[in-house]
Structure formats: C-alpha cells, structure tokens
C-alpha cells in the first residue's frame, strides 16, 4: 500500500523535501514505523504533532492504504 507523507516547517528542512509517497508491505503500519521508514531509520523527534488525514492523532495510530500522514514540528516565530 502507498501512504502520502507530508513534512512541515523545520521538519521539511530536516528532510530536505515537503512530501514522500512511502510504499509499505501489509495492510497497516503505525505512524512510528512509517516515520522510521520514511526517514531512513530515525526516531520520531519528541514534540512532533501528527495528523492522519488532517486529524490530530498519536504515534501508535494504525495508518491504512491511501491515508495522508502529516508531521508538524512546533513553530515559535512571532
């Protein structure tokens, strides 16, 4: 299955791209594992807001085929 992944703010800089399409074996994958796969084995940084299909959720959420997963680090500028 294919999952669309989007990176925002400093996460986009860190990854060097705004989005990915990650192909995953099986019917479901947790956000944590999806992040690992997309980032080449890194741990998901603490203080990251996760949205699946633009709804706030946690890293244990099971992602399904066709879902869009977005990662939002906090933004502080004012």
């Amino acid at each position: 299955m294919n999952i669309k992944v989007r990176y925002f703010a400093s996460m986009r800089d860190r990854m060097g791209r705004a989005e990915d399409t990650v192909s995953v074996d099986g019917d479901t994958i947790t956000v944590t594992d999806l992040w690992k796969k997309a980032s080449g084995g890194q741990d998901l940084p603490a203080s990251t807001l996760i949205a699946v299909n633009m709804e706030y959720t946690d890293s244990a959420h099971a992602v399904k085929n066709g879902d869009e997963v977005a990662f939002f680090p906090p933004v502080t500028g004012g």
């Binding site: 925002f8 400093s10 203080s47 807001l49 933004v75 502080t76 004012g78």
Partner: protein, 386 residues
Amino acid sequence: MNDKSMVGLSHEEIQRYSRHLLLPEVGLEGQKKLKSASVLIIGAGGLGSPIAMYLAAAGIGRIGLVDMDVVEESNLQRQIIHDSDRTGELKTESARRSIARINPFVQVDTYCEKFTAENALNIARDYDIIIDGADNFPTRYLVNDVCVILGKPNVYGSILRFEGQASVFSAKHGPCYRCLYPEPPPEDLAPNCAEGGVIGVLPGMIGTIQANEAIKIIIGKGTPLYNRLLVLDALDMRFREMKISKNPDCSLCGNTPTITALIDSQYYCGITPKSGEYRMDRNEFISPYELAEKLDNDDVLLVDVRSPEEHAIFAIENSISIPLQELTARVGELNKQRDIVIYCKSGIRGAKAVEFLNAEGFARVRNLDGGIAAWAKEVDREIPGY
C-alpha cells in the same frame, strides 16, 4: 467585556465605526462590546504589529502590550507598527504612539518587562482575551498556562519562513497548546525567525487572522478556530486545517493535571535564552582578540557553521562554510591535526559543533566566543548586524 450595556458611542465614534455598524454581525451592540473589551497582546513584534493596529482601528476599548525589546533595524521589514525613525525606542512606546495615531479612543497599557511566572497572572487577570504573538517557547507555554489557569481564550499564532499557524485555544471549548505539544521542544527542532528568517508579509497574514478571531469572540459571532489548527504555506499559498482535540492526559487541562501553577519553562527544559548561558569548559572558547592575533600568526582553519544564506551576508575572511546541519556528513573534510576555530552568529551553534567535533576525536577545536556578533563589535566594525 464588563458593563457592555453601559458604554455609549460619541458622534465621532459612530462616524468612525460606521462600516462596522452597518454589519448585522457587529452593529451598535457589537461595537459597544468591542469598546468594552480588553485584549492583552504578548509581543509587539511581527504578529503583535498587525494585531494591535487592526484591533485599535476596530475600536477595542483597552489594549495591553507586553514587550521588553527596543526597535531594531532588522525588525522593520515586518514589524509595521514601528517606523524607521523609532529604532532604539522601546517597542511598547513606539506601538503606543502608532496606536494613538490610528485611534485616539483606545486606551493602551504597556508592560515593558519580560512575561514571567511571577508577573503573568497579575498582568493577564484584567483582560478578556490574551493574544499570543511571542517569539519564543518559554513565553508561549507561559501564555498558554496562564490562559488555562484564568479560563481565558488564547488566540494563538506563530510564523517561520513562509509557514504560519493559527488557532484559538480555550480549555472550555477544546484543547490547549500543551494538548498538542506537551513540552517545549529541543532547540534544533524549532529555529526562531532570527535564525531561520521570515518573509515580511507572513506576520501580516497570520496576525490579521488572530485579530479577526479576537473580534469574533468579543462580539460572539461566527465560528472561532476552536478545535482547529490552521496551517498556512505561503510559498505554495495553501491553507490546511487540522482537526485537533483535547488530550485527556494533558498535564495542564487533562483529567488529572500535574501542572497546577506557573513555571518558567526555560528553567526545566534546557532552553538557553542567550548564548552567554551556553557555557562549557573555558578552554573550548577563543576570544575575538585572540582569534585576530592567531589569524595573523598561526595556521588555523576557520569554519563558519551558520547557514549558507548567513555566510553570504558576511563572513570572516578566509573561513569555509559548513552549516551545522551538514557537519555530520562533511566531518571528513576537516583535519584533526590542525587548529580549528568554529564560529556562528552568537556562539550557540558553534558550541554544538565543538561538542560534536570533540566527540569525533577533534582535540584542537575551539568556538569563537560570542560568534561573529562579538567579532563585529570587538575586531571588525565594518561587519553589519543582521
């Protein structure tokens, strides 16, 4: 929003606010509510500028401004409440003068001090709505915590580069900021505008959204941004909306809160407000004078770990550019047998680079104390501040 039935509008005010009075959603009643309302704006900077200017023009009765900074040249590209001739002036005073010119009917109360766990409740208590235009995490967490404790809406906005966020946090109606981000993040995950840059119109776009939300809450019309986080990508010009909800485990507004009083978060999360507080072994620093001498006499490799954009603005002569994020990948370019001096803008990124290089087995590496900012002050006065 006290005594809203008591206030009246003068003939002059009726003329001034006529386009509001014609709106069914505002009308005379709504305009009186605006006049009776008090709004506290944290930060008189990028976001605070349009927020204060539009709320003043809209006829908010009392505006409070918290900021301890003075106007700098580098603020003028986006902080439009401050004029070119106000550099060096307190931001609160500059903003007060601008507001008086926009609308003399507005009462302005200024707090030229740091918003801290000690003074926050006293400052915020008398206001109906708090608007977060802060530029740092400790203040943002404090604003959030104060609002939850006092039960006031927190009209939130933040910006970086071309991206912005806005929401209205209210523990009564939905999540607070800590429901989304329980603790302040590690520094490198969240650069501020001074490090990452920001496009000048962005605070105008996000700040006006915040001002509009505050007005809606005061007049009680429309649908506030409760339970929604609006995310703007101004580069591709896309607004996205994320559904957010209260976290039952939130340490502040959840079912079993563990935070029951205000805390200054920089004291427990390790965020260092100033370069001077990122102190390591003194042997790992080199003063600007010492470096100037060393550059004249010895063989030393000078490495700039700032961004390529910062390097392009101005760099110390004969330095090479290896941005901090690329250091891990490019460490092979450096020779362990050579004396190396690292520099950044003010010393924080340099300290991180030295720490990393020490761990990689570099023994002859030092950090320019105070960065290129100190170098500009003490050695090369031709370098502009940025």
